[in-house]
């Protein structure tokens, strides 16, 4: 299933997906029919204000939730046909997550935090360590491997989070406001890191943001307002 993700069609495709929360008068349509295709190797920004439904869209694309209506294809296979186990494996092995908040276990070491996905995958301690160190090496954080996560600065924490997202060699990284919690300088560093992964390692990026500068660095932007797609832009000079 994992290798199939590199097939010719889009990695992920959403067709007219809808999602609402609550009932009756309290009903809130988070997504009111959005279609989107994410191709291997591209970077795509989902842009919108708070409450626009952009995070909901990402959650649906990342298979963290099911749409109420519409279809969601993973490598051209209907996501509803996948078993819970397959979904879990897909998220564990092919997806990496970077959130605005770090969700690091404060009293665990950097290395322990980074190898959590490998631990969940059931990989042995020795290999976990080797792969965790390799990815920390890559992000120039190897010297902090033994430090407790709580002792790191914001930028360092976000790097650890990216290392955690990378440790399983994912095909897609979903980043929800990856720089939202960082100052401009460290934010820019984290951005550089994400785009270099995209360019040098062919990792597909799906970035949710309200920051137009970050969105502009992506190959494509999808603007969302009130749960609807308002426009889609291809960044000039970059082929989709």
């Amino acid at each position: 299933m994992n290798t199939e993700l590199l097939g010719p069609g889009p990695l992920l495709a959403a067709r007219d997906i809808r999602k609402s929360y609550g009932r009756g008068t309290a009903r809130f349509d988070a997504l009111a029919g959005v279609s989107l295709a994410v191709h291997a190797g591209e970077s795509i920004a989902i842009v919108g204000k708070s409450g626009s439904g952009k995070s909901t869209l990402m959650h649906l694309l990342a298979l963290l939730d099911q749409p109420d209506d519409g279809t969601l294809l993973v490598s051209e296979a209907d996501s509803t046909q996948l078993s819970v186990r397959q979904l879990n494996r897909l998220r564990n092995e092919d997806f990496g997550f970077v959130f605005q908040q770090f969700f690091l276990t404060p009293n665990a070491t950097v290395l322990e935090n980074v190898v959590l996905p490998l631990k969940i995958a059931g990989i042995g301690a020795k290999q976990r360590r080797a792969r965790g160190m390799a990815v920390l090496e890559q992000l120039e954080m190897a010297d902090k491997a033994g430090n407790k996560a709580v002792t790191l600065s914001g930028g360092q924490k976000q790097r650890v989070v990216i290392a955690r997202a990378l440790v399983n060699n994912p095909k897609v990284i979903f980043a929800d406001e990856p720089t939202g919690n960082l100052d401009t300088v460290t934010g820019a560093l984290v951005e550089d890191l994400l785009f270099s992964l995209n360019q040098n390692h062919g990792i597909t990026l799906v970035i949710v943001t309200h920051d137009p500068d970050l969105a502009a660095r992506c190959d494509r932007q999808l603007f969302i307002r009130d749960g609807r797609e308002v426009r889609s832009l291809d960044t000039p000079g970059v082929a989709a």
């Binding site: 879990n88 092995e93 605005q100 969700f103 009293n107 959590l116 969940i120």
Partner: protein, 430 residues
Amino acid sequence: MKPLDLARAAIGNTFRSKTRTTLTVIAIMIGAFTLTITSAIGTGVSSYLDNEIGAFGAPDVFTITKTAEDAAPADEGPTPYDPEKAANGGDGGAQFETPRLTLDDLDTISKVDGVVDVTAVQHLSPRYVEYGDHGKFELLVNVDGVLVTPDLASGRQLEGAATGGQILLVTSYVENLGFADAEDAVGKSVNIGVADYTGEVHEVHATVAGVMFETILASGAAVNNALADELHRVQSIGAPADANDLALQARANFDASWGEERVDVLKADLADLGYTAKTVADELGVVQTVVSGIIGVMNGFAIIALIAAGFGIVNTLLMSVQERTREIGLMKAMGMGRSRIYALFSMEAVFIGFLGSVIGAAVAIGVGTIANGLVDGTVLADLEGLQVLRFELVPVATIILLVMGIAFLAGTLPARRASRQNPIDALRYE
């Protein structure tokens, strides 16, 4: 996630909130401590009783009495008066005694399949015992003495075949009779005063074979057959001719290798003929039932304490699930299955139970050992060989497993809640 990693993570999580875990563990500990103590008392007392039966009680002997045929069941009020049942007055006995066994009865019993040998048990009531001229002391002879092989302070057991009279004295007699110690008494000759039917006192000589510790099975001195016969002979001087044919009890031997079932069959056979047959174990059974009843009630209280502590675990873990909502969400987002999340929290509960029970049991064993030392030789000095608190591997291990089981049950609610958490709700911060 591999089971080992899961277990490690669960144990690690337990220590994240140390104060909370410690308090919960203490609650569990108290329950486990109480349960360990009560079960140790149960084990101690019942193994004491078992020892008494096993080591001292003859396993192949019945004490047989004639069943009172028309004894009214206890719940039907008093038994109607029947002049034919009444025994003659006098001799300090009750006026309605258990029906006596006659020679015919003994004959009938001896013909029952499985009975090897049957003898009438004569009631022996000597007046006193005396050593040299150190004074006379009342002597209580236990006719069941031959049923047991008592624990001796010195000397040897009675010899059934010996032709001379032998007696086993109880430790408390040694000093009063004028012996230096138990060792000193062995082999000495004592005089036993016994009255005949007309009241005239005769003296019978007996050799002290040994000195025994008091047991709950038989209080009073034990005498060998030769001495018993002699005492009975003297007692019966001047008695009416037919008096000797009567006995309250008879003793029947059966094959010692018999299992419980065959003994039960034999008992039933005797019951059909109108005799009540009891082994030493049967007689102690009553005591054991009472003791296990009391222990059962105490165990019940300990288990109530444990159940209360179980709610402590529920509380602790619910708080933990609440605190770790995001972590759970993250793990689920990263592909951790529901069952693994469930297992993670269950294991945490079981580990808390394990900690509490092991510490509780260890403290109980420590305290119990000290208490045994204090009680032994003071409060319970009369019951030699009784170790009140007895800690054995199987009951202690059972308690630990039981507590872990309760902890697991307590963990199901929080673990379920954790496993059902929606990763989106957990991670939402828009």
